[in-house]
Structure formats: C-alpha cells, structure tokens
Symmetry: C2
Subunit: 340 residues, 2 copies
C-alpha cells in the first residue's frame, strides 16, 4: 500500500496530513554542522555513505512522513563540466559565468551511470533503510540557468533576463540542456528507488507570467512529461510564485508547492481541486515562540481545508537558527490536529 | 490647471499617459556618479543646492512628467537619533539594530522645522524652478522597521518577523513612531510645495496578507489618513506585492504602484477602477535591446488599458547600468503611443 505521503500526493484520502520540511537535512542540525567542519557540501553529496547518513538524520528525530535526498541542485550542473563551488553563506559560485552560445555548447550532456554514479548508490542504500518514502529532486532549468548566467545568487537577474530577451536561441539551448540534465538525474533517482520527485524552481518568481510562459514553462513541462511514465508523484516548487501558480500547475506536476506569501486557501482557489498542494508555513515563524508556531500552523491547516491532497511543509527551507525540537513538536502537532 | 501627472493620479482623462521613473535621479547618470565621488548620499540629501541639482538632472534630459525629490527614506530615521550610513552597494547600515522596547523608546519624535530644515528648503527651491510637479516621499513604517531591526538590507526578515510576533507591543510602538516620522516629513514636503507624495514600502512583500493586515496596514493607513487633507495625490508602492495589492489599496492612497511581477491587467482586475495605477515595466528590460524595450513597454500600456488613471513607470528603480538615452527614448515612446 502506498505511504501516507504518496497517497496525499495522489489526492487520496489519508488518516492524517503528512509532513516533511524543505532542508530538513541541513544546518539547523548540530550533527550536520559537525560533519560540515570536515567535509564540503559537494563532497557529502558525492559520498553515498555520508549523503545517506545526512538524509536519515532528521527522519526519526522529526517524525516526518518523507525523507528528501541530501544533494544539491548544482550536482548535475557540475557533472556537465561547469567549474563551481558552494559557498555556505552565498550558495553556488560559478567560476566562469555562461552567457554565450559557445559557452552553452561546451556544456556536456550527462549520462547518470557514468557522471552521477553516486546518486543511484545513495538512493539504493536509502530505499533499503528508510521507513518512509524518499523524495528525489532536481533544479528547474530557469533556476539553474540563473546561477550559471549570473555567476551565483542574484537579487535582480539582470544578466539572465538580458540573455533571455536578447538571444532567445542561446537561452533555449541552455534551458534544453539543463532540462536534459534534470531528467537524467531524476530518472536515476527514481530508477534506484525514490518514491517521488520534486523540481525546485526557487527563483522563478522573478519572472512575470508572460515571461514564464515563454521562456521557462516549456522546459519545466518537458521534465514532467519525461517523468510522468515513471509512476511516482511529481512536485513543482518555487518562491514568490503567487502570479505563476496556475502556469506552474499546467507544467504537469501532481503537487504544487506553495511558498509562504500566498495563503493556502487562495492557492486552492486559483489552482482548483485537480492538483495536490504542499506548503506553506513561513520558516521565520519557527524562530518565534511555540504559541505563534502553533497559531500559524493551525492557520495553514485551516486554509488548506478539507480537500484531499495536502502535504504540510514550510514555504521555503528551514532556517539554520531553528531549534530541532520545535520542528519535532510541529510534526506531532500537525499529525494530531489533522488525525481523523 | 493640474499637470498631466496630477490629473492621471486623480483618474482624470489626459491627452497622453504621464511618465516618471523610480530612481530617475541616480547612479545611471554620469553626472550623479561624478558628484558621488566627492559627496556621500546623506550629504547630498542634506544640502539643498545639491539635492535640488540632482533632482533636476533627469527631468529635461528624460522628458519625464514629474520629478521626485532626491532624498533617502532613512533621512527621517537618522533624525530620530539612529546612527546609520548608506552603503552604496548594500543600502542602509544601522550601527546598532533596534530590537527592544528600551531601544524603541530612545527614538526621538521629529519636528521637521528643527530636525529636517533642509527638506523644506530644497522643496521650495524645486517648486520654484521645476516645470513639472515634484513628488515627495517617505518610507513606509514596515520597510523602515525592517532596516532598523535587521541592521540593514535583508532577504529573510527573520528578526523583523520575530519581533512582530513575539513582542507585538514593542513592534506597534516602533511602527507608530516611524509612521509619525513619515507624516512629519511628508507634511514638510507638501507644505513647501510638493505636488504629490509616494510612500515606499519596498520590502513589505515578505509578509503574507494576514500578517500585513495585522502588523503593517494600520500604520500605513494612518500616514495616508494624516495626509489626505493636504490635497495632493498619494501613491503607495511596494515590490512582490501581488498578494497584498487589495490591502494596500485599502490603506487609502489615490494611486497604487504595481511592481513588475504582477501584470497590469491583473492588477486592474484585482483593484477595480476606483484607484489609479502606476507601473510597471521591468527595469531589467532596459538592459536589453530597444526592440525588447518597445515590445515590453507596449505590453504594459496595453495591459493598463483605457481606464483613466494610469502613470507609466518602472516596476522598481532604474538599474545603475541603464543607458540614459534608452530612458529618454522610452519616455517619448510612451508619450507618442498613448497620445490622443
């Protein structure tokens, strides 16, 4: 029988609302911080024993209904031949930003068994050990492209938008290659035992709906179309996406992840009942006192309503300053509050 | 007779759509950059001759229908006794962040004639010299509070949200004092001859509608209520505000500024015809070729539609890399395209 998490993704009725947290395997955990003193993020991702250990770390402790593979959206991009590192404070840093056709054509297509062998290894280990489903993931082409073009994290995305507008052929070629990499990586993850797959388009909220539809949606849609035959639920997430939710749904995922800015009832109104929703407690709330956490979590649950197909999550990743005990208490609260 | 700009703010019919640009007096202008080599931003704001010169700089060159006072939203905050500077790259930097009741109570109420004498001086000079209306402005309490609490610019606003939630009395006291400062500053600007006033709530998009309604809206509303009797149009602007537009309208401004993420037709649909709209060309478009600029500007104009009450602007400030000649061409394009 499917797990509660997978049932909820498929809009089946469940005996309680399943819970997991974006970045649940991350810096807020002291054991993770200790490991990071001696190992870089990309090292951990590429060492199956370590990635497996980190992935498992929060599962029992927080009582969550799903694990998410410890990895980084830039892992497939590095395998394409891009020289990059992950700065713990700033995120991905690209040695030489990619802004021309020649640079795009230098990106190598990846073959997962050759270029990402550690992914199947860690997923197989986890699928054997975990008592809950494992979520695989990849970065959406737009978000990956923005890192490559800007050279790292950006507030403004000026270079990205300039390439998109001034050289659409190069843009679409870059997006195609990044979508291919995402497909290869997700196929490997699902092939090795992942029970669901999430596509992270974290920064896509910088686009207007018209820009999204023309420059990003076709490539994200291609990822979902390529994966739909694998038989696992597909989740589509971004931040600042209030104006884009309908288009993101139309890309073809089973579940739309809603960021904190859009109230869950409003998301449901816009998206209808034909898709499951995931979200969307503001991770900043977890730094307030428990009364506020409970009040805000209850608000999310109430706004999500009684429509089948809801997965409780945060609206973005867990903050490093979060107390793990608060997350544990939150999981229990959501389970009790929604128990039938 | 009222200027085209003021008529449009009042939803009167105009013979063309008026245009101005947020940060039209800024770093994209070589003359401004040259002045900045010898003068700090706050120095310029506090020296009427310089602030006047900078305010005038783009008006004829760009052919815009309104000037906006060269100043900084932190000027009244500094006058309240806060030790701060403006880092050209990072924005305001607060020497000692404000997070407790005691620190809030140390903020001095301001009296414009005593604490901001240069504001009336520069506005009087400009009102005498300008051929177009002058827009005064202040920062909205939420955005000012976020700088004070975080110590500077933020992506996450965790400290701000923690104070808001864990100590609402201190939060509201801080917001009241910042609203009072905004009111004092805008009264001085309008009293000295400003023809309109814009309240910048640049970072308010980090709040959900429920949070905005409880923690920010009452204080912004108080500013508009205090100013409505002055007889000049009031404009209310923020970014990432798609989910907040209706509430921002309800704060009482005559004009709602729409950021780039929300298409203008969608903003009109949400806000109805009882308010004027301002916006919202993505400033990143100005870094693309002219064909793209024209296409995007036409799209904004078409989406704004034929409802009276539209002011063409950008969705956020002009980027420093922008070519002034492109802005000039854009002004002319909008004027010609909308001429009746």
């Amino acid at each position: 029988m499917d797990s509660t998490f997978v049932q909820a993704c498929r809009r089946g009725s469940t005996s309680y609302t399943p819970v997991w947290y974006m970045r649940q395997a991350g810096r807020y955990l002291p054991e993770y911080r200790a490991l990071r003193e001696s190992h870089g993020i990309l090292d951990i991702c590429r060492t199956p024993e370590l990635a497996s250990w980190v992935t498992m770390l929060p599962v029992r402790r927080l009582g969550v209904d799903a694990a998410i593979l410890f990895s980084d959206i830039m892992i497939p991009v590095a395998a394409m031949g891009v020289d990059l590192c992950i700065d713990p404070g700033k995120g991905p840093v690209i040695a030489e930003p990619i802004r021309s056709r020649v640079e795009v054509e230098r990106l190598r297509p990846i073959e997962a068994s050759r270029d990402l062998p550690f992914i199947a290894e860690v997923v197989e280990m986890l699928a054997a050990d975990l008592e809950v489903p494992l979520i695989g993931f990849c970065g959406a082409p737009f978000t990956l492209a923005s890192y490559l073009i800007e050279g790292g994290a950006s507030r403004r995305f000026d270079h990205t938008k300039a390439l998109m507008r001034d050289d659409p052929e190069t843009w679409h070629e870059l997006m195609r290659r990044l979508a291919d990499a995402g497909i290869a990586s997700l196929r490997a993850q699902v092939g090795a035992g992942a029970s669901a797959a999430q596509v992270f388009d974290s920064w896509v909220g910088t686009l207007s709906p018209a820009e999204y539809e023309e420059h990003a949606l076709p490539h994200s849609r291609r990822i979902f179309e390529a994966l739909v035959g694998l038989g696992v639920p597909l989740i589509h997430f971004g931040t600042q996406t209030g104006e884009l939710l309908e288009l993101m749904r139309d890309a073809g995922a089973d579940v739309v992840g809603v960021a904190s800015g859009t109230p869950m009832d409003e998301a449901r109104r816009r998206l209808g009942s034909g898709v499951a929703l995931q979200g969307n407690l503001d991770p900043a709330v977890l730094l307030a006192g428990w009364d506020e956490v409970e009040r805000a979590a209850r608000d999310v649950i109430e706004r999500a309503g009684a429509v089948p197909g809801f997965i409780f999550n945060l609206g973005h990743g867990v903050r490093p300053e979060t107390d793990p005990d608060v997350l544990r208490r939150l999981t229990d609260f959501v389970h009790e509050e929604t128990a039938k």
